[in-house]
């Protein structure tokens, strides 16, 4: 018997749209005590290629090992370790929600922020707090994965973000490497002395 044809071909937009079942939104706000006050949220546009490649290695149990390029633009091969690790500690920019000042349009092939904002208190720098993960939550028949990170501006000047990304670590053949799982444009100014909290929410819905 011939190999069954793959579906990796153009399908009608109507078919694809009707199949969409994991959405991603992005938002920001600030914390009042331990309560998150949302200031804005909207659709994220951009799971990028590393999330697909990583999931393919995960589902195939390393039957497929191509991870694509990491954030250093080095091609990586999946090895025996975990995937999609986003639990960054404070000041750790190797994973979790990270931000930059780039405004280049997003492409599926993106692998890194265009212009990352460094950790620190110097000019143009931000203090990244530890990533926070919520328990899986319910909204109607949907389930929500919510991950957040607060950014404190101690630089002495205002900083305007242009882009946000979600970095995750996945094990290659020798060590954990960082991959860009999602990348979005977001205009947000954090005034000096202010903190803002960025939120990614993945919604799994019956469609």
């Amino acid at each position: 018997m011939a190999d069954p044809p793959l579906l990796a071909r153009a399908l009608s937009p109507e078919v694809v749209r009707s199949a969409l079942s994991i959405g991603l939104t992005i938002g920001y706000g600030h914390m009042e005590g331990d309560k998150y006050i949302e200031e804005w949220s909207g659709p994220a546009h951009s799971w990028v290629k590393a999330i697909a490649a990583g999931l393919n290695t995960e589902i195939s149990n390393l039957g497929q090992t191509a991870l694509g390029v990491d954030t250093g633009n080095s091609s990586r091969t999946r090895g025996n370790g975990r995937a999609f690790q986003c639990a960054a500690a404070a000041a750790d920019l190797t994973k979790g929600i990270v931000v930059g000042t780039g405004t280049t349009a997003i492409a599926m092939s993106d692998y890194v922020l265009t212009t990352p904002i460094a950790e620190g208190v110097g000019a143009g720098q931000l203090n990244y707090q530890a990533m926070v993960f919520a328990a899986l939550s319910t909204s109607g028949t949907s389930r929500l994965i919510t991950i957040t990170r607060s950014l404190q501006n101690n630089s002495g000047g205002n900083i305007t973000l242009g882009e946000v990304a979600l970095y995750g670590e996945t094990f290659d053949t020798t060590a954990y490497q960082t991959f860009c799982l999602a990348h979005d444009l977001l205009t947000l100014t954090i005034n000096t002395g202010q903190a803002k909290t960025i939120t990614y929410t993945a919604t799994l819905a019956l469609v």
Binding site: P4, L6, V16, A19, G23, A52, N56, S60, R82, Q85
Partner: protein, 197 residues
């Protein structure tokens, strides 16, 4: 209505003669990542910071574990293994987010109402300008001697729970309509679509 960047799921069923001639084919939207898929993803993202308790396919509550296994969403079932991977049944109950198993599984074998499960097959990532595709394929052979009509499909994954031990959880479930005559082959394909929006 969900919004934002999307991961979609498509489901293809195709019936072939034993000689490989296509008899009929249907491509439809999958509707149904269910709760286990969300819980396992939350576990991975949070590096085991969020360890939900969910039902396995035997309806036993399991608390997910950090599990240092290479994979926590594995569907690489071998031939004749109907415990995980793409699996089929004859149930017709509407899909719910809380589904944890097929309603009426079709067993492995050549007896009445049974199908021979081939190994789950994987391909490299499919590439388009603004999309990437993951393809999961399983072929079922009807050696039972009579027509079999699967009405549900599911994606069962292996994932670590407390121990850690590899358990089996239902990541997706869909209603399908297929009729496989004796001697025919049924190909079931799940495709995950990642697209910019």
């Amino acid at each position: 209505m969900i919004e934002g960047a999307q991961v979609g799921i498509l489901l293809r069923t195709a019936v072939y003669t034993r000689q490989g001639k296509l008899v009929r084919e249907e491509i439809r939207p999958g509707h149904s990542f269910v709760v286990a898929f969300a819980a396992i993803l939350n576990n991975l993202f949070s590096e085991a910071g969020q360890l939900a308790t969910i039902q396995d396919t035997g309806n036993v509550a399991r608390t997910l574990a950090s599990g240092n296994q290479a994979s926590n969403l594995r569907v690489h079932a071998a031939a004749a293994d109907a415990t995980f991977g793409i699996v089929l049944g004859t149930g017709t109950n509407a899909i719910a987010m809380t589904d944890y198993a097929l309603q009426t599984p079709i067993a492995e074998g050549t007896g009445s109402g049974q199908l021979s499960h081939l190994a789950v097959a994987f391909g490299p990532i499919g590439v388009a300008t603004t999309a990437r595709y993951i393809n999961l394929i399983r072929t079922f052979q009807n050696n039972s001697g009579a027509t079999i009509s699967p009405t549900e499909a599911a994606l069962y994954v292996q994932s670590a729970y407390t121990g850690p031990v590899l358990g089996i959880f239902c990541a997706a479930r869909d209603i399908i309509s297929a009729s496989v005559d004796a001697g025919q082959l049924l190909v079931v394909q799940y495709q995950l679509v990642f697209s910019l929006t």
